[in-house]
């Protein structure tokens, strides 16, 4: 995790310990300084971008930094300016005012009149649609980039072979895109994007167009190639409205609304304790961080959260247990019976949300700390029956079958 800041007012924090940056930074982002690898950041500067442009009804004004090897997710609803941001970084869209530097190269500086053309930026782009060239085989698609970089036919072919194998689609090398399923095509597209070894990989809702069945596997394999040793630390900016993408792939989360950064920080923290109403709404999930173990997840304070792994996980891998607030049952007394996960909480807040009331848990001091920040959605009738109000000591219970354990960014 790097200390790279994003958002107006924190850009200069890039190479300094987080605590020294800005007194206005809130406590929950300050602890990232402890894990910040500032030396690595200084040796391999990643992306630093500031974009200001008028689009439709709002003004996009965003600063984002991504350290070398870091994966940052930009989360926001449609029309929040995500696509404009990506288009600017890729060089496909000319903003009114922007500076973009990547790996010590100035890619865009509107004041100085600099715009490096798309094909010389070394910025890869993977979007919802695989957009494989329809007239080329999967293998030729992947070899396309290396060929453009001047590699010979044989060398480019070898690169393509390696990446297709890496993505688990080596046997599809000779297929045309029309003969591939959506998930297969997207794997080939990932191989194609990574085969040119871009300094920055932009992911634009990369799983949004996939079947529900295909998305997790593609997400897992993408996670493996960008995070593990395969590319030795790929710098990635991911744009998504799917919280799961951010949970599984990202180190850090930047929340965008109406063209501005409203919130940012380590993924799990932002999602578990959203400070903006917007983040809370898009998050809409309970998350507990820890490490994977048999039967679920070990929290940082050593308690077990029972659940099923979404994909095979090694013991001790960083992981996040995810469940929906509506699957949390609320009790006055410690419930007996089947729920595997029961945690004492002190009710911090009650927020009406349409048909339900969201009960937000604070620290209780009576039990494991993972209960803090959890949300439980209950009906107004249940609230009336329980007679709860903020400050009350309660028990939150969730069945193990409702808990999915995902690998997490860190």
């Amino acid at each position: 995790m790097s200390a790279a800041g994003a958002g107006p007012g924190s850009r200069e924090g890039h190479r300094e310990p987080r605590r020294a940056v800005d007194g206005a930074l809130r406590a929950d982002t300050a602890d990232t300084a402890d894990t910040a690898d500032t030396a690595d950041t200084a040796d391999n500067p990643g992306l630093a971008a500031r974009v200001t442009t008028r689009r439709g009804g709002f003004t996009l004004d965003v600063a984002v930094e991504v350290a070398h090897g870091e994966v940052v997710a930009v989360l926001g609803p449609n029309g929040s300016g995500k696509s404009t941001l990506l288009g600017t970084l890729a060089g496909l869209f000319d903003p009114e005012s922007a500076t973009v530097t990547l790996a010590d190269r100035v890619l865009t500086d509107t004041d100085a009149g600099i715009t490096v053309p798309v094909h010389r930026r070394r910025v890869g782009l993977l979007s919802q649609q695989a957009l494989l060239f329809p007239h080329l085989t999967a293998h030729e698609n992947v070899a396309f980039g290396p060929r453009c970089a001047g590699q010979g036919r044989r060398a480019a072919g070898a690169v393509a072979d390696r990446w297709l194998a890496e993505m688990g689609v080596a046997e599809l090398a000779d297929r045309r895109p029309s003969e591939l399923s959506g998930g297969q095509a997207q794997r080939v597209a990932i191989a194609r994007a990574l085969a040119v070894e871009p300094d920055l990989l932009l992911l634009d809702e990369p799983f949004a167009a996939l079947d529900v069945d295909a998305a997790p596997a593609v997400r897992a394999v993408l996670r493996r190639v960008v995070r593990d040793s395969v590319v030795g630390g790929q710098t990635v900016l991911l744009v998504t409205h799917d919280v799961l993408d951010a949970v599984v792939l990202a180190d850090r989360l930047v929340v965008l609304a109406d063209g501005e950064v409203v919130e940012q920080g380590p993924t799990a923290e932002v999602l578990a304790r959203p400070r903006s109403g917007f983040a809370a709404r898009i998050a809409g999930l309970d998350l507990v961080t820890g490490t994977a173990c048999a039967g679920g997840l070990h929290t940082l304070d050593g308690t077990l959260v029972s659940g099923a792994a979404s994909e095979p996980l090694d013991h001790g891998d960083p992981a996040v247990a995810v469940f929906a607030p509506r699957s949390v049952a609320v009790h006055r007394e410690r419930p007996a019976g089947s729920p595997r996960n029961v945690v004492p909480v002190r009710l911090a807040a009650m927020e009406p949300q349409g048909e339900v009331v969201r009960l937000r848990a604070g620290a209780s001091g009576r039990g494991p700390a993972w209960g803090e920040g959890l949300a439980a959605d209950v009906t107004p009738a249940a609230v009336a029956e329980l007679g709860v109000e903020p400050g009350d000591e309660l028990w939150f219970a969730v069945k193990a079958t409702e808990v999915a354990v995902h690998p997490s960014g860190r």
Partner: protein
Amino acid sequence: MTRAAPSSPRTRSSRTGSTGHTLPWPVWVPAVVGFGLIAVPVAGLVLRADWPNFLTLITSDAALDALRLSLQTGLTSTALCLLFGTPLALVLARSDLPGLPVWRSIVLLPLVLPPVVGGLTLLFLLGRTGPVGQLLDAWFGVTVPFSTVAVVIAQTFVAMPFLVVSLEGALRTAGDRYEAVAATLGASPMTALRRVTIPVVLPGLVSGAVLAFARALGEFGATVAFAGSLQGTTRTLPLLIYLDSQDDLDSAVALSLLLVVVAVVVIVATRTRDASGVR
């Protein structure tokens, strides 16, 4: 001419299988009438033909000269359409040139203009007394009208819009997403054009070229106005057919059938390539 969308298995199945979807019957009646309007006259031609003398009629000196000239000029003007029309379609489809609709309307003018009018405008421009023709004559001693070159120019004039319309449609359907992806993979604009854009729109380019060739092959009005009707030099098959229809109807019918055969061969050959070729 449009391609199946990439990575969509659904478009493949729709190409092969019947869906059991039935057309409403009111579609069939005008469809049959329309088909008849095209097919029956051709059948009438077959019935009217003087079959015992058919081979003699189409192998006369005049006929062979006309056929050779038609194929030569048709192919040449198709090549010119590709050479100039492809970049023209790219500019119309991809550039943000100001006043693009106006430029496009001008390019499409030959589609709506009577060919004779097109031929006359060329004559006024390139004729010996025309503004450009005068200079060509004075500087190079070149006279364009009533030469084979004039035939090619007239055919290119009327045929080019067919290629441009077809290709521009294909380019717009394909969108610029593939070019954008190619650029992010490091392809220069020229590389992207050569290795992505052109291959992706190749079916549209082929069908556009076929249309242009067919139009050039059948060209009459502009040719007769601008190039005249000299055997071996400017008298193409349509001109010969018209000439013969005045006094030698048997020959006109035989040559008409020859033209039909050439057209059908071209269409069938390129259609099969279109469906299977790029795959």
